[in-house]
């Protein structure tokens, strides 16, 4: 499982770098109408455009690494699906929120943080419901097969 986790972390880091910059570009365009690769405030924070790009790319990669690597929570034998989902959600939010604030993707106010957390929680809940229904149906089939023995 360790090697799989490491592979996921690496893949997540690469995807995170790409997706983070694409999202920043889209949200920059939607909010200002201009093509912005990063928030202008980030340039001031990091001292240069290169610094801003580097910070955004690497930190996006980190979020991706945590998100993908966190899939391994669901492969642990003992914790149920709910605990695995909570661990995955918790590690993503603990990484994403501070990074999103640092990169000026969201404001450091309860409303922005609450909305982002709520959106992620709803997404996780929907995925959890789908997976729960799927496993429940599979277990029902197992019980049906038991009656044929």
């Amino acid at each position: 499982m360790l090697s799989k986790t490491v592979q996921r972390i690496i893949m997540g880091f690469v995807l995170g770098m790409a997706i983070g910059n694409v999202i920043a570009l889209i949200t920059g365009y939607v909010s200002t109408g201009n093509t912005l690769f990063f928030a202008p405030e980030l340039i001031a924070r990091t001292g240069s455009q290169l610094g801003a790009m580097t910070a955004q790319t690497l930190l996006s990669g980190l979020v991706g690494a945590v998100a993908f690597g966190g899939i391994s929570w669901h492969e642990m034998e003992r914790p149920g699906m709910l605990i695995s989902a909570l661990l995955h959600f918790g590690t993503i939010m603990a990484t994403y929120i501070p990074i999103a604030v640092y990169l000026y993707w969201i404001r450091p106010v309860p409303a922005d943080i609450g909305i982002m957390t709520g959106i992620m929680a709803v997404a996780f809940f929907i995925i959890w419901i789908i997976m729960y229904a799927k496993y429940k149906a599979e277990v029902r089939k197992l019980n049906d097969l038991l009656t044929t023995i």
């Binding site: 699906m81 729960y132 097969l145």
Partner: protein, 152 residues
């Protein structure tokens, strides 16, 4: 696992006993049954009771085998026994059509399962016929299904 039907056909001129297995394919279940007929001692394990005496059991009566304090605990319909082997060694001699290793620490007899359950917390629970409850990874569900369908 496929259902087993046993029939007797009288042939007056027969001096030997012919046992013919009819199935759609010679899968694990069929091979295991053939081994048992060839060797009546196949499908038996020797365990120790709480006095340390050896007891030979038909593995069909075994409900589960699990590791406990560096020994194996064998739970059967009649009681609990000990086995001084590793789980890996025991697994080699058990009927693969019937016994499944559900974790690093436990093997269960699928024929002794009363019910499978998937709880709200998302845990996959196995309830045996004697009331014993155990847990397994969700990833085992497809393997269990194949075993019960006789496809593995």
């Amino acid at each position: 696992m496929k259902k087993i039907n046993v029939r007797f056909s009288r042939e007056n001129d027969k001096s030997d006993i012919d046992v013919i297995f009819c199935a759609s394919e010679e899968d694990r279940q069929v091979s295991s049954l053939m081994d048992r007929v060839r060797d009546p001692l196949a499908g038996h394990i020797t365990v120790h009771d709480h006095n340390g005496s050896s007891v030979t059991l038909n593995d069909m009566t075994v409900i589960s085998i699990s590791t406990e304090n560096k020994k194996l605990k064998v739970i059967t319909e009649d009681g609990e026994y000990e086995l001084r082997k590793t789980l890996r060694d025991v697994e080699k001699n058990l009927d693969p059509a019937r016994f499944l290793k559900i974790s690093r620490y436990e093997i269960i007899n699928l024929g002794k399962v009363r019910k499978f359950d998937f709880s709200v917390s998302g845990s996959f629970r196995i309830i045996m016929q004697n009331g014993l409850e155990t847990w397994a990874s969700r990833r085992l569900i497809p393997d269990i299904r194949k075993r019960l369908e006789g496809k593995e």
